[in-house]
């Protein structure tokens, strides 16, 4: 089949799944509505696989015209190149596994069909985002995933206990993302004004050809465009200053956290920057900004994760931290390395989230790791896969995270050894909080209630199967982009593959010297193994004891309270806004608007009361008024006539 037909089918599948479930889901049994949702995504995955096999060079498919103006056209067109197909593979592949998982996880939920509607809609929007060939379609998908994220974070909005908290978390995510979206809109306007097109390949050609007015290395315009784009990325990909929504987004059901808030949507910012690589290459200042923000985010988030007690919150902060690492790679200009880390991160973070979902499911919705413990005997498959995920994210030698992280760190080392030291702190912290999480959850003795202990069980096959597949991917995902150290032929397969996308082939990647690579790998391995042993001795051997939040001291409080970041925003932004709102409400609304409107109403009413007295039901008085009116008319007429003459 031709590529354009495949593309249409690919986009229609998740959309029709969403429509079927959205319109008729209420009347369908759970197995069918879940089955339809899952099948649509699985079929999409098959189609993407076939596209993956066919693509040798970028293909552009234009479906129809959206906006036609004198100076430019905006088309619903799609760019099928190595980058978009690779992203689509991750989205539909991980998406399929998470759909399968959801069929088990959400089985007790009343909003089952609604859940699958939103999930399919999300997949559709995400595919638009990565497949679109211009910023307009990208923006369309960008907003689409935003609204799905909002709907799914607040999925349990009517929960009697947490409903309000869930809704607030959804609102926070929405508002935070709007700030980023404003950046994207401004960037799009500026790009349109400068290049008179929004097509990626067109812009790339114009940039590389040179001669566009106002576009040169570090010119004000290009810095403004790239910084606006990066602002958008900080919103979606949860970087400082807009990252605080992501930990709160854990209010959503766990499969949502896995799919949207770990594996796919949050990498949209990374994808968008990678897609805009030709612009960022002209703006070294913006790249430096990205580099430092990435490092700061990675470190801050890793620190915050150290003393979180909610299993999902720890993973959320680790997601922010890992996204920081990807942004570091972007800041270094190593776009393909960032995509490599996106890929491996999608594997192991989806695995970890689904694992935590399996734990939460088995523990009757308990999320506090201090009330777990010893689960390795009760949930053997979850335990084993979770262990693999933990090892992968901590950079344990030869697992996927080891390679992708090592490449980022290697690039950073070549650029700036001091920053390398800083980011190593973040890597160490990652290992610390992940092993703490792992040991507290699966080792030691059971600390929950008796009821939970009796009910604790291994999850059904629909939940463990995705875990096993993701665990396998997490182990072997690193093979996608092996460093030249291990292979001479076929090394850096992913980097070479992605070089087909516009702009990405032009960026050179200096290969670090073999000795340096070995040294860096040795350091990373030592760190992760060292931390593993330390964490085992601290949390598993001695029998860890939960401490109340009030008993924490010094840095632990800071970590537990997220460096008071939310409180700071509350003080700096929410409070002044509330003050302004209250003031406007009291002064403008209360004194001016209300006084005016209420005054008008009172006036009308009072006048009416008085005038009503004229209607006294007496014929003679009516006649009196009639005669008075008549006389007034005559007088008026006479005056008029006299004046005219």
């Amino acid at each position: 089949m031709s590529i354009s037909i495949l593309l249409i089918i690919l986009l229609c599948l998740p959309l029709s799944g969403a429509l079927i479930n959205g319109l008729f889901g209420k009347y369908l049994p759970k197995i069918i509505s879940g089955g339809i949702g899952t099948a649509m995504v699985a079929l999409s995955f098959v189609i993407v696989l076939s596209l993956f096999g066919q693509i040798t060079e970028p293909v552009k498919v234009t479906l129809f015209n959206l906006i036609q103006l004198d100076s430019f056209d905006i088309n619903a067109s799609f760019l099928i190149d190595q980058l978009s197909v690779w992203m689509a593979l991750i989205i539909t592949g991980i998406g399929t596994l998470i759909h399968i998982f959801s069929m088990g996880y959400m089985s007790h939920d009343t909003g089952y069909y609604k859940f699958f509607t939103y999930l399919n809609l999300f997949i559709f929007a995400m595919l638009l985002l990565v497949l679109g060939s211009n910023y307009f379609i990208l923006f369309f998908g960008w907003e689409g995933v935003g609204i799905c994220s909002f709907l799914l974070i607040g999925f349990h909005y009517s929960d009697p206990e947490k409903g309000i908290a869930n809704s607030l978390a959804a609102r926070k995510a929405f508002v935070m993302n709007r700030i980023g979206d404003a950046g994207l809109v401004f960037a799009i306007f500026m790009i349109l004004n400068t290049f008179h097109t929004l097509e990626f390949d067109g812009i790339a050609k114009m940039v590389q050809g040179g001669g566009v007015e106002g576009i040169s290395i570090n010119s004000v315009l290009i810095i403004a465009i790239t910084l606006c784009l990066f602002l958008a990325a900080t919103g979606k990909s949860a970087q400082i200053p807009l990252f605080t929504w992501l930990p709160d987004a854990m209010a959503g059901p766990t499969p949502v956290s896995a799919l949207i808030h770990a594996a796919t949507m949050v990498t949209a910012g990374i994808y968008m920057v990678t897609r805009s690589n030709f612009l960022f290459e002209l703006a070294p200042y913006s790249k430096d900004v990205m580099l430092y923000i990435g490092i700061a985010t990675s470190l801050v988030a890793a620190f915050m994760a150290l003393r979180q007690n909610d299993i999902k919150k720890v993973l959320a902060y680790s997601t922010v931290s890992q996204l920081g690492l990807m942004v570091v790679a972007l800041g270094l200009g190593a776009y393909t390395v960032a995509i490599f880390h996106v890929t491996t991160h999608a594997f192991f973070k989806a695995l970890l989230f689904l694992g935590s979902g399996s734990v939460i499911h088995g523990m009757s919705d308990e999320q506090d790791i201090w009330l777990m413990g010893g689960l390795r005997k009760i949930m053997p498959i979850t335990h084993l896969t979770f262990l693999i995920g933990t090892l992968a994210i901590s950079g344990f030698p030869l697992l996927s995270g080891f390679y992708s992280k090592d490449e980022i760190i290697g690039h950073l080392f070549a650029e700036n050894p001091i920053l390398y030291g800083v980011i190593m702190c973040s890597v160490v912290l990652t290992a610390v909080y992940m092993f703490r999480l792992y040991f507290l959850t699966f080792h030691g003795s059971f600390r929950g209630t008796k009821h939970q202990k009796d009910h604790a069980h291994e999850s059904p096959i629909s939940m463990t199967l995705p875990l096993v597949i993701l665990a396998i991917l997490s182990v072997f995902g690193g093979l996608l982009n092996l460093p030249g150290l291990f292979l001479h032929e076929g090394a850096h397969w992913l980097t070479h593959y992605l070089a087909g996308a516009p702009g990405l082939g032009l960026i050179e990647h200096p290969e670090a010297a073999v000795n340096t690579t070995i040294l860096l790998m040795a350091v990373a391995s030592t760190v992760s193994i060292g931390v593993l042993i330390w964490a085992y001795l601290t949390y598993a051997k001695k029998g860890a004891i939960a401490r109340k939040d009030s008993e924490l001291s010094g840095w632990e409080v800071l970590s537990n309270r997220k460096l008071y970041w939310d409180e700071l925003y509350h003080l700096l932004i929410v409070k002044p806004s509330e003050f302004l709102g209250t003031m406007l409400n009291n002064l403008v609304e209360g004194k001016i608007l209300n006084a005016g409107i209420v005054g008008l109403a009172t006036l009308t009413e009072k006048t009416g009361t008085q005038v009503r007295k004229l209607q006294n039901g007496l014929v003679s008085s009516y006649l009196l008024w009639m005669v008075i009116g008549l006389i007034m008319l005559i007088v008026f007429y006479l005056i008029n006539t006299l004046n005219w003459n």
């Binding site: 009503r612 209607q615 006294n616 039901g617 007496l618 014929v619 003679s620 006649l623 009196l624 005669v627």
Partner: protein, 105 residues
């Protein structure tokens, strides 16, 4: 104008104005509904008088046609008015219009 001595048109105007004002004041002041109806007739006929006077004065018959219409309408109006009067009397046992104030808002 015929051979008979003509009366100045001013007298007709003054007479009909007087009649109209008497009628209007009567409607406003009197409470007896029969008198009220009579006053209305008075006003109508004042107008009729004015119309025929000017009709003769100008030698134009158009106004006389109007007068016939007004007489017919006045007759109909008197019929309706008297019927209402009878019904109102049966209902309220009075024909004092100052007591007919049940329809006020």
């Amino acid at each position: 104008m015929g051979s008979t001595a003509t009366v100045n048109i001013d007298f007709f105007v003054i007479l009909s104005s007087l009649l109209f004002v008497i009628g209007a004041f009567g409607v406003m002041i009197r409470r007896n509904m029969i008198v009220l109806l009579m006053c209305i007739e008075l006003m109508l006929n004042a107008v009729n008088l004015l119309l025929v006077s000017f009709s003769t004065y100008y030698g134009n018959a158009d106004a006389q046609i109007f007068v016939f219409f007004i007489i017919v309408v006045a007759a109909a109006e008197a019929t309706v008015g008297l019927s209402i009067l009878i019904l109102a009397y049966r209902h309220l046992r009075t024909i004092d219009v100052s007591l007919f104030n049940k329809l006020k808002g």
